[in-house]
Symmetry: C2
Subunit: 297 residues, 2 copies
């Protein structure tokens, strides 16, 4: 199970209802924070989640509303006895910004922090990988995908018919090896199937560009900024942001299954449905999140 908690869903200026950008992806011991706007550590508390379980921070770009929660979070981890290595990934410039950031207050530290500037696949286990792609936002900016790989699983009904015993032999089948049992050969491809991979994409702050669709192709969940309604398309272009309608067009063209709109302007605090309607005209399976919403996938 992958859990996604929307810790903050506002745009550049937070409102009483929405905190600055931050999304937490939890999967099998990994707690990956995508952006960390001011106030994120307190959003953890409100969501009854422990910030000390954070394993990685992915930074889309260095505008204040996406990063100004980092120093406070790092300090709280230090005060709480965090003792793992914290991995921080971001676009070009991240190393210098991170160095500056730790000189802005009396940081007590106490645990290793590894900072990496990424473009392409940057972290991989047997089970999942993380990949980034440069976006277009006036400053270096990354979109990210989290891909849970499709594992090879035993087809239980076929296994039953085969009368193979459980144990070591099945483990070999899962690794794609053919096996021989009581003189009979069993082909892995006949007794197993490959799960579908799960892809979650995070597009936070960008203008429309030609390579977004390809990067987020076939997302199970496309999480996308939509700072503006399409009536402000010119303004969105000027400020290098997306409209809700553009986000929905990306969802449609990329054959994504579900679109989640975030990075919502306070101008829509009283009527968020306006943003949602803008997207649903093009892509029905669109949703708009509010702070502390949780999705399971």
């Amino acid at each position: 199970m992958i859990n996604i908690t929307f810790l903050g869903t506002s745009d550049a200026i937070p409102s009483a209802k929405r905190n600055h950008s931050s999304i937490l992806l939890n999967y099998d011991g990994e707690n990956i924070l995508i952006d960390c706007g001011e106030g994120t550590q307190r959003q953890f508390r409100k969501a009854r989640l422990n910030p000390c379980k954070t394993t990685r921070i992915l930074i889309s770009h260095w505008h204040g509303d996406h990063v100004l929660g980092i120093p406070g979070l790092l300090q709280t981890l230090a005060l709480s006895g965090y003792n793992k290595t914290l991995f921080i990934y971001g676009p070009k410039g991240t190393k210098v910004f991170m160095k500056n950031l730790l000189n802005t207050f009396v940081f007590t530290g106490g645990y290793p922090i590894k900072v990496e500037e990424t473009n392409g696949k940057f972290f991989e286990t047997n089970d999942f990988y993380l990949e980034s792609k440069r976006m277009t936002h006036g400053v270096p900016c990354n979109a990210y995908v989290f891909v849970k790989k499709g594992k090879i699983r035993i087809d239980k009904s076929k296994l039953k018919k085969s009368k193979l015993p459980s144990g070591l032999l099945l483990r070999k089948l899962k690794q794609g090896e053919d096996i021989t049992y009581q003189g009979k050969k069993y082909l892995a491809k006949n007794l197993t199937f490959k799960e579908k991979e799960k892809k979650i994409s995070f597009v936070l702050d960008t203008s429309l560009n030609k390579w977004i669709v390809n990067f987020v192709k076939n997302s199970d969940l496309l999480i996308c900024e939509s700072a503006f309604h399409s009536e402000f398309e010119a303004k969105a272009k000027e400020y290098k942001h997306l409209t809700a309608k553009q986000a929905s067009e990306i969802a449609k063209k990329s054959k994504s299954k579900k679109l989640i709109l975030t990075h919502i302007s306070q101008r829509y605090d009283k009527n968020p449905k306006k943003i949602l309607d803008d997207a649903r005209k093009v892509f029905k399976n669109s949703f708009l999140v509010k702070d502390l919403d949780v999705l399971e996938i």
Copy 2:
């Protein structure tokens, strides 16, 4: 009228109930922010106050929980068209920290920021003044007082008896000048009185020292950190903080009228009365604030 809004009342780690330190003092067009912990700009929104009315920021010290809201606030002021000079005061080191802080993200700026390191009286008008005093907290740290000066007022009952007309003559009396009207001399001291000054003191993060009492002497309102209950006195000393009991002893010795406890640890979230009781044993007129409480004085 002086209005004081407690925007954040937590200690180093915020809780779901309490945001990091920040207090707003509003008086006659001045909006003076004392400390600006992470999330302060959003606390403004929750308090339905406009952060763009901020005129001055007073920084007690550069531990993260007291300053990490500054960059976000400065950015929001820029995005909102702030066009006055913003004055920032703090202890030694403030100029370097402020310079570093504006290099931690892509700050769009657009208005002048004046930074001053203070020790002693540092701002004065005809009506009020601001003064700072070094405290003891392991890093350079200031306590502050805001003093509304006592104005010379006309004694209305005596004026009635004197049968003097209103207007220019009264203005002279208010300035302390004696006047002559229809051949008769009127002494200013006989027709006026001096209002009492109002003193509000802010002691945020310090260990007990010999000069606090004198600095906050005769406060109408003594706002004081109390990170620990007196059962943790040794710990308070180790971390260079005050207990609630020590805060109340300062209130008593300084002949302050009212003590406000803030900078409260999450360990007391479920039983804040424990902290209050610790203070009231020594000084009855003690109160404990929560986020967004407002006091008028």
